[in-house]
């Protein structure tokens, strides 16, 4: 088990290296001239040269790459062109907002999608199955931003502002019921501080973004669960259970489901990844102060270090999640756990 873990980590490092190469290439090679953008309009050639030297952009590429790596190891993701502050610190501020959003969405997707998929498989070709599959089909075709906006139209527009339009918490709430940022997750921090109104406000602001982010994945997860369940139900050991008089309910929800849970882990990992990507769009729709919003803002201002910083960060997180999932997989499946 540990040997496997070690091998996987090594592979991860390899891929990570590749990711670094890609982000490096993107940040140095592609922009027409980051320097010119930094210096504003019409810099003189001498200014350009001086800036290049200062930034180290005149050195050979591979040396630049090495120093890039060195910077990263020291936690230096560059400096934001807009604010002048280190990108990494700006990321930390916004990371927890995205984390709160995506984690809740993943939980919702799993809690809703898996039972739907199981139900769909167990009652194959019954009306329930067809309904779930139809909704699934439709869900996959809806653009995320449209779902968000439709929800806004419904819950904010049509229902008289039942749920807030955007943001993470009501601004007046923040003033009247302040709480300390312990974990960065508003739901938890407000509870810790005993500020009930703040908690409610955070929850209300979370509702629509989480729903939006979850909606697209829900369709996919329920479909995948259904397929996996159907495959398992066809297996020999399920037939043995039938042959020994085990009750149908037990066969479905204890024996078959357990076999499905193991590959399900991988699917959850993929879902998280999808969420990390989708959160960019959702945060744009709901003005959510997370990494997605940061990226969009940075792009519009040509703040390349910021863009690359976020990209690298999110890619790393995704790789880390997949590694964890992979190891969990091995811990849970008895065939892999015990030799």
């Amino acid at each position: 088990m540990w040997v496997y873990a070690a091998k996987r980590v090594v592979m991860m490092v390899g891929i990570m290296f590749g990711v670094l190469v890609v982000t490096f290439a993107l940040s140095r090679v592609l922009p027409s001239s980051p320097v010119e953008i930094m210096l504003g309009h019409r810099p003189t050639p001498e200014q350009v040269e001086a800036a290049k030297q200062a930034l180290g952009l005149d050195r050979p590429l591979y040396i630049q790459f090495v120093s890039y790596l060195g910077d990263l190891l020291r936690g230096d993701l560059g400096v934001s062109l807009r604010t002048g502050r280190p990108v990494l610190s700006e990321l930390f501020l916004r990371m927890t907002a995205t984390f709160e959003l995506t984690t809740l969405a993943v939980v919702l997707v799993v809690l809703a999608g898996v039972p739907l998929g199981v139900l769909s498989a167990v009652k194959r070709n019954a009306p329930v199955d067809h309904a779930v599959r139809t909704i699934s089909m439709a869900g996959v075709a809806l653009p995320i931003f449209l779902v968000g906006m439709l929800l806004q139209m419904l819950f904010y527009g049509a229902m008289g502002q039942a749920l807030p339009l955007q943001g993470r918490i009501g601004s007046e709430i923040l003033l009247d019921y302040p709480f300390e940022r312990v974990s960065g997750l508003y739901l938890i921090d407000s509870l810790i501080a005993g500020q009930w109104e703040a908690f409610v406000s955070s929850a209300r602001h979370l509702a629509l973004p989480v729903l939006t982010l979850a909606a697209a994945s829900l369709a996919v997860i329920s479909r995948i669960t259904r397929n996996m369940m159907l495959e398992v139900l066809d297996k020999d050991y399920i037939r043995t259970a039938w042959a020994y008089g085990v009750a149908r309910r037990r066969i479905h929800y204890r024996y078959a489901l357990k076999a499905t849970l193991v590959p399900m882990l991988t699917v959850i990992g993929l879902t998280y990844g999808f969420m990390l990507g989708g959160s960019v769009v959702v945060e744009a729709v709901f003005d959510w102060p997370g990494l997605g919003g940061y990226v969009v803002g940075a792009i519009s201002r040509n703040d390349y270090p910021a863009v690359m910083g976020v990209t690298l960060f999110l890619a790393t997180m995704y790789l880390a999640i997949n590694l964890v999932i992979d190891l969990l997989y091995h811990a849970v499946d008895p065939r892999l756990r015990i030799p």
Partner: protein
């Protein structure tokens, strides 16, 4: 009596033909629906100048933000432009996106897959590791980064998507080439002097036709959605390009009170992707029944 050795086969009167038809109808009703919608959209795109009642770019403040009605089927946006006409022209953009992204993705992926599959060994390992790197990014993130670096614009966005997705096609081709490589007749062909690239082209490519089509049918819809998302956040299509995602983005200041400015282009995206997915599912069912959800 019949000659010795001949047999009379009494086939049990099975309901083969009627069963086939009813099966086709029930399973493929969706395929038919999807195909109809898709062909309608293609027609709209091709015949846009004939179908669109107004010029999609004409600004007319006197007509701004009109609700859907007889004069403007789907209403007007905040610059007074007819939304129905813009949607019809937007169909061209979306279909173009689907085709372009897929074409470039395959143009990158197929050669890489061929090379990796044929030479195997280190070449294969290196190429596959490189592909893995592209797959290691969360979806949409790499296209965002690439487009940001290249500069916003629809073409750049499409290239970015193609670059992010080529590994899927590389893998498919590689798998099929490796499968074919094992076949004895490759060895036989070699001894007869047929050259390596010819072997690959003539044998491996046809083998991989089916999974490639299946993958492409899924990706067409994804490409349209991804491009719309990129346009929505501002780094894909930019004015004056007419693209549905961009239209939704442009409606953001007003959509709460003027729902059609967002709902109509949004619906267009939905219907197109749905139709494409239905057709794709149907094609997949026909080509590879084993893979379908039972």
């Amino acid at each position: 009596m019949s000659a010795p050795g001949s047999q009379e086969f009494g086939v049990r009167p099975s309901l083969g033909l009627s069963r086939l038809l009813s099966w086709f109808a029930s399973q493929n009703v969706l395929l038919v629906v999807g195909a109809v919608i898709f062909l309608t959209i293609v027609a709209l795109a091709l015949l846009a100048p004939l179908i669109a009642p107004y010029d999609p770019n004409t600004i007319d403040f006197s007509q701004k933000l009109r609700a859907p009605g007889l004069e403007h089927l789907l209403g007007t946006d905040e610059l007074g432009r007819d939304i129905f006409s813009r949607i019809v022209y937007g169909a061209r953009t979306s279909l173009l996106i689907g085709v372009t992204v897929l074409a470039f993705s395959m143009a990158l992926g197929v050669p890489i897959g061929l090379v990796a599959g044929y030479f195997g060994g280190r070449v294969d390992t290196v190429l596959m590791r490189v592909s893995d790197v592209f797959l290691a990014f969360p979806p949409l993130l790499l296209p965002i980064a690439i487009t940001a670096m290249l500069g916003a614009g629809l073409f750049n966005a499409m290239m970015a998507l193609a670059i992010s997705w080529f590994p899927w096609y590389a893998r498919i081709i590689r798998g099929s080439v490796m499968g074919v490589r094992e076949e004895l007749y490759i060895a036989a062909a070699k001894t007869m002097g047929v050259s390596a690239p010819r072997i690959m082209l003539r044998h491996a490519l046809p083998n991989s036709w089916t999974p490639t089509i299946v993958q492409a049918s899924m990706d067409f819809g994804y490409a349209i959605l991804a491009a719309a998302s990129l346009s929505f956040i501002g780094i894909g299509a930019r004015p004056p390009t007419i693209e549905w995602g961009l239209m939704v983005a442009q409606s953001r200041t007003k959509f709460l009170d003027f729902w059609w400015t967002a709902a109509c282009p949004g619906l267009a995206i939905f219907l197109t992707v749905l139709a494409v997915n239905l057709v794709g599912d149907g094609i997949r069912d026909l080509l590879d029944p084993k893979s379908r959800a039972r």
